[in-house]
């Protein structure tokens, strides 16, 4: 299984992430309501606000999971932050990046992923993503909805960096 490459700007990316002072903080209703909305809108069993740290993918808010982080080298989001556009994987078993991923071949048996990169200070620090255990299609309207939800999360993240 090819792990996602480390971005060239990794140091700056991690600095932007850590400036938010959000890692390992408790759940917040303002993020939870967006993630819940995403899960319901897409009828997705799993929806996550994920932040890609140096060695792990940590979940600030999530629906449908019983863990709050996964190793970075198996995280779909590690791939999603490599590009500015939404990453859509309609069937992970057909994608060489993910076909032998333990999250695909074992529990929870992921098949579908759509993740919109979250930016802070110009760096892609994580994603808003929805996942499913069956293959799915994701059209232009779905992508627009996910991007719009991502904007709401980014607005909330930016408020964290504003002076009190």
């Amino acid at each position: 299984m090819p792990a996602a490459p480390i971005p060239e700007n990794e140091a700056e990316r991690l600095e932007a992430l850590r400036e938010l002072l959000i890692l390992d903080t408790p759940p917040e209703e303002r993020f939870d309501r967006v993630i819940q909305f995403a899960a319901e809108e897409f009828d997705a069993p799993i929806a996550v606000l994920s932040l890609v740290d140096a060695e792990r993918n940590w979940f600030k808010s999530f629906v449908g999971l019983d863990v709050c982080e996964v190793p970075r080298d198996v995280a779909f989001c590690s791939h999603a932050i490599l590009q500015p556009e939404v990453l859509v994987v309609e069937d992970a078993t057909l994608d060489p990046r993910f076909a032998d991923n333990p999250l695909v071949t074992g529990g929870p048996g992921l098949r579908f992923y759509a993740g919109a990169p979250l930016q802070s200070h110009g760096q892609r620090i994580g994603t808003l993503c929805v996942l499913d255990v069956v293959p799915r299609r994701f059209d232009a309207t779905d992508i627009a909805i996910l991007r719009s939800l991502r904007t709401l999360v980014q607005d909330e993240l930016e408020r964290r960096t504003e002076p009190a």
Binding site: F37, E40, E41, A140, T141, D142, I145, R147, S148, T151
Partner: protein
Amino acid sequence: MGALRATRMLLVEPHAVLRGVVAGVARELQRGDVQAVASVASAERVMRAERFDVVVLSLDDAPDAIGLLERLRAGALRGADDALVAVSAASCDAATAARLRGLGVRRVLLKPFKVRTVVETIAGLCAAAAAVPAAGESGRDGDAAAAGSGDDRGDAAAGSGRDGVDAATVA
């Protein structure tokens, strides 16, 4: 039919996430020039200052919202008495549907609904509004059928409840 023109849309929705997402998607898919407000009071202030071709109005605050529609149709708001209107509501009984029909409401979206449903409704209304000739060329009545055919499927009656139905046509 006159040349297509840009449409201006007002979204009145108290639910912050829904308002933000619908407005964002409508802008991204270029469904029109979109303004979004959270309350009927804010909507009235905006509608006294600006003209809108399409209005999507939540009936969460039903008496005030219907009052706003009545003032809109009475011409008490700036130049928008012929705006194409859809409303969203948690329920819609026969009496309310009849009242909405009398106020020229094109569509009732029963909550909970998908953002996709609202976006498709907005697209239909904006297309109908864009096809309307500029003021003075002709009225909007002649385009009502076109508006309905593009979006309203006639697959549900207003007030029919939520069982398997996420939208109801009233016009």
